[in-house]
């Protein structure tokens, strides 16, 4: 197994200790709640979408360092993105953390700090919880999504 430092990079600690956009959005056009039954963690994702563009995004909840930092980093990566780009970003992120594919240079930007997760299969669900919740919010699915 890789060094723990590959998983717990400084950027991850930074976003764990000082999560960005950790708040509800008053005028959210989309929202969803995600749950990881394995550890009991919950995350809620809020989006404000206008003309197909994500104007604002926030989240509540979280859990471990990986889940919280991933949600925080995700919100940063989403602001100003077009909704139709999200699926591609989701796939790229998912492939990276599961080790299915290496992201093209710079494609995932700062999200690449979570690449170390691929060496820790038990933690993939922590890293993807917010992302699954994001997808549920955009699909306007009701109820909670689950990583199980």
């Amino acid at each position: 197994m890789s060094d723990l430092r590959d998983l717990y990079q400084e950027v991850i600690f930074d976003h764990y200790k000082r999560p960005r956009n950790r708040h509800a959005l008053e005028h959210a056009s989309h929202e969803a709640e995600g749950h990881n039954p394995l550890c009991g963690d919950n995350v809620k994702v809020y989006l404000e979408v206008e003309d197909g563009v994500i104007r604002d995004v926030g989240f509540e909840g979280g859990g471990c360092a990986i889940a919280t930092a991933s949600a925080s980093l995700m919100t940063e990566a989403l602001k100003g993105r077009r909704v139709d780009e999200v699926e591609h970003l989701f796939d790229g992120f998912h492939d990276m953390v599961t080790g299915h594919a290496t992201p093209a240079d710079g494609e995932l930007g700062k999200l690449e700090v979570l690449g170390g997760v691929r060496e820790f299969p038990a933690r993939v669900k922590c890293a993807t919880l917010a992302w699954h919740t994001l997808r549920a919010a955009l699909d306007q699915r009701h109820g909670r999504v689950s990583t199980e």
Partner: protein
């Protein structure tokens, strides 16, 4: 009412050599992430001694056949060994008769059997079942299912901050319409040993039967169902050094005699016609289909192993380990122990300030140390303490002080990383 304390400890001076018992468990020689394995997830499942692994292989190599039906030699041998395993469980629990031992897949199946076959026909809309706030989901959900089917309700005995069962509340909750008390012997999440003698004595006074979930107790404490006088006692083989997929339900014979079969099929009948089926006697009536023969034989080997190590000696050793681990961990800044009951089995649940249990688990694993992180299938108990989960170190007879030292060092490492 006569109140007896449960015997957990033992007379001092019983020789017990965990370090040499370790050698009986081949997996403990494994290296994980380049480090010697420190296995502290015994609450989830225990490791298997060579004697159990060998018993399984030996059965498949020499005796494998179906039970209770063949006239040929192998079938007879398999049947003899399977029924001898039932006898081993009977002696292990000190049941009066092997007819009172039903082989099941594990504790969960045992509880579901009692819920569906014993409780359900006896329950009506105004009735209730009393459980504790410390139950594993497997001693909650089966009762919720029968309550939903019958309109009965579930009453929950609260737990205090230290993790003690509230006997006062229990006395009030057991009412005239209580049809069953179902409690754990040992809390899997926080280690509390429940005051079973008192619980059963009160239930007896009020003529309420008692089921005990023994999953976490059997590897740690002596269990005597006759002294305890409980009606049902359930446990899983894999938590007491045996194989997965096998467990046992002890039930007083008069209950089993009165209970309808739960599952139908082969092996549980006497005669079948399309008009009518006569069921087999107990316990076969509750063992439809080909049973887990190898599992039962492996379980018997495991119980034999435990008996030879000596349960009072195991309990005393683990008591010492728990005291040592509690002392070491309590000295770590920012570490909070959940479950400080007066009587505990060797289970230590804790949280660390500013760290999620999952992160603690990952960091310890990188050091070869296996613990459990999460809600321990006891979500209501975690809600009681207002936490998503804990990190849990759970010990077994083969753990040593060195394992505790490795755990403490691993926690220090985690704290440094998160500092």
């Amino acid at each position: 009412m006569k109140i007896e304390r449960e015997v957990v400890g033992t007379p001092a001076g019983i020789p017990f050599d965990a370090a040499s018992l370790r050698l009986d468990f081949p997996i403990l020689r494994e290296r994980v992430n380049g480090k010697p394995l420190v296995y502290l997830d015994n609450g989830a499942t225990t490791q298997k001694p060579e004697a159990v692994i060998e018993a399984l292989a030996d059965y498949y190599r020499h005796d494998n056949a179906n039970v209770h039906r063949g006239v040929h030699a192998l079938s007879q041998r398999a049947t003899d060994r399977y029924e001898a395993a039932r006898g081993a469980v009977q002696r292990f629990l000190n049941a009066e008769s092997s007819r009172e031992i039903v082989f099941v897949r594990g504790t969960t199946e045992a509880i579901n059997l009692v819920a569906q076959s014993f409780a359900r026909p006896r329950l009506g809309p105004d009735d209730d079942i009393v459980i504790s706030a410390m139950e594993h989901h497997s001693n909650i959900v089966p009762w919720q299912l029968v309550c939903a089917a019958t309109g009965a309700s579930l009453r929950v005995v609260p737990v205090d901050d230290a993790g003690e069962f509230s006997f006062e509340a229990f006395e009030k909750l057991v009412g005239p319409r209580t049809r069953l008390v179902a409690v754990t012997h040992v809390s899997n999440a926080i280690g509390t040993v429940l005051p079973l003698q008192r619980i059963v004595a009160l239930a007896r006074e009020r003529k309420v039967p008692v089921l005990v979930d023994g999953a976490q107790a059997v590897s740690h404490l002596p269990v005597d169902v006759r002294a305890l006088d409980c009606d049902f006692y359930a446990f899983s083989g894999h938590k007491v050094f045996g194989p997965t997929g096998i467990g046992a339900l002890y039930a007083k014979a008069r209950h089993l005699e009165a209970m309808p079969p739960w599952q139908g099929g082969g092996d549980m009948i006497r005669t079948v016609t399309f008009g009518k089926t006569d069921f087999a006697d107990i316990p076969a009536r509750f063992e439809a289909g080909t049973p887990n023969i190898a599992g039962a034989i492996g379980l018997a080997a495991a119980l034999d192993y435990v008996e030879r190590a000596g349960r009072p000696a195991i309990a005393a050793w683990e008591h010492e380990l728990l005291a040592y681990a509690t002392e070491r961990l309590a000295a770590i800044p920012g570490l909070r122990i959940y479950g400080t009951a007066r009587e505990k089995a060797a289970i230590l649940s804790f949280t660390l300030d500013g760290m999620h249990p999952h992160d603690v688990g990952t960091i310890l694993d990188a050091g070869g140390i296996a613990i459990r992180a999460g809600h321990h299938c006891a979500m209501p108990l975690m809600q009681r303490y207002g936490i998503p989960g804990t990190a849990r170190a759970s010990f077994a007879l083969y753990n040593t002080r060195e394992d505790v030292d490795a755990l403490a060092a691993g926690i220090d490492e985690a704290r440094r990383l998160f500092a």
